[in-house]
Symmetry: C2
Subunit: 278 residues, 2 copies
């Protein structure tokens, strides 16, 4: 069986590209680009909580990084570097090879470099810290929404929750719909290009991985922009090849969500968002 | 029961000090200090692998950060910021309060700031990414040892392994020795001050958390320095209030460890270091 150090060398080591020192020492070393702000995020995927036992390892490698890239996208940041902490119950080389293939395919697509990590034995858990860069003053912070801003949604939400319900046997989708919804659940496409193009256009942004109004695991962006930026938002969506839909408006006053039907009549809103402890 | 968001607000949110944006958004934002190199590390502690069920939560909070500070120390870096990913099987407020107290006490002692995190349900697992800074060219890289360098050890190793053996009932220490060894196991003191003072003095350094020759979980530094820097190494140890002991010498030739007894006779060396999968 591979040792821990052979495992790291075989599956998780790439030559350092932009890092001054990559995988293999106590720390990685970076020279941060002058004049830019760093955006940092950390996210964990745990077996049973975030993925089912037996989940496809290639898709899991993809998703482990995708959820972090989605956070960078929600700040409008350019992906740069990541660190990977992985706990595994055993060394399964076929699993590792597929996991690494999915992880690095997405990493290469977004030019984000693995610079360090930690490999331990334990219940299957993947934690990634991703780091991006931004010009100062351009981050899409969630506290930047203004009364009167439009509220926009990228792509569409709900497919991931349908895919999960199908996998759990709660609903039965057609084969075509099941494949599409399960791919949305297991291989989400982080909206990095859209986030980048919304810098200087949108005001506030968040990702809706915890659910927009119900369900969850959709790695779409909800963002606000001033009403006079509608053409610019639509141009950003076209340039990033992502649909953008105006779904509401920020009102002045105490925080409250009002959901209206097509006729403008209020709909009852259930408690919002996924909560791990509720 | 606390919700996930109440839990984060109550136990893991502090006002941002040096960060441009701290806990609570999709990413944290930092303006990296001009002209410095960043050192980054990630480490996981998993229940059953790294700590026993029922481990004291205050000590676990301390240790979760200490293992990362030890990696920064091994590069000679100044601690700056950290991100915390924590998976918990349930919300136990007494546990959380004690864990946070241990974590933040050590964070404050080293002026390292929590800037972001992730809280999920799952087997008890703590992953921290710590970030430090260094002047360019001063990192204590493990590839920097030169033939002829002295090899040095900070503090002493072995106590943590004794503490663990005692806890597991494999040996019986006196009450006084047990308390001392268990404290070394559960509340290691990362050698941050020594690492900082070894910048420009030592050549290569690593921490020996995976064991120096046997045992493990000692957060001491092994480092090399040119033979003409002995007085400077001893001064660094005194300034950091840590014993430093010259334990060997780097030889030219193929990598190999030769362990000699007091009389200079070779001792048999067992396979070195802890491996999670062996």
């Amino acid at each position: 069986m591979l040792s821990e150090f052979e495992l790291i060398a075989k599956y998780f080591t790439r030559p350092a590209r932009t890092a001054a020192l990559g995988v293999g020492d106590d720390c990685a070393l970076l020279r941060p680009p002058a004049g830019l702000v760093l955006a940092l995020t950390i996210d964990t995927l745990s077996e049973n909580t975030h993925f089912l036992p037996g989940a496809d390892p290639r898709r899991l490698g993809h998703k482990s990084l995708a959820v972090n890239l989605s956070d960078l996208a929600a700040m409008g940041a350019d992906p740069r570097w990541f660190l990977l902490a992985i706990a595994l119950p055993d060394v399964d080389e076929a699993w590792l090879e597929a996991f690494a293939a999915g992880l690095f395919a997405l990493a290469e697509a977004h030019a984000i470099e693995l610079i360090g990590g930690d490999t331990t034995r334990g219940p299957r858990t993947i934690t990634i810290t991703a780091i991006g860069t931004l010009p100062p003053g351009y981050a899409l912070r969630r506290d930047a929404a203004q009364a009167g801003d439009d509220v926009w949604l990228s792509g569409a939400t709900g497919s991931a929750a349908l895919g999960l319900a199908h996998l759990k046997g709660k609903i039965a989708l057609t084969a075509e719909a099941a494949a599409r919804c399960i791919a949305r659940l297991e291989q989400p496409a982080p909206r990095v290009a859209l986030g980048q193009r919304l810098r200087g256009v949108a005001a506030a942004a968040i990702d809706v991985s915890d659910g927009l109004l119900a369900g969850g695991d959709d790695y779409e962006l909800v963002f606000t922009a001033a009403a006079d930026r509608r053409a610019a938002v639509e141009a950003a969506g076209r340039a990033a090849n992502v649909a953008v839909t105006r779904i509401g408006r920020i009102l002045a006053g105490a925080p409250e969500v009002r959901l209206l039907d097509r006729a403008g009549k209020p709909l009852r809103v259930e408690p919002l968002g996924f909560d791990h402890f509720r």
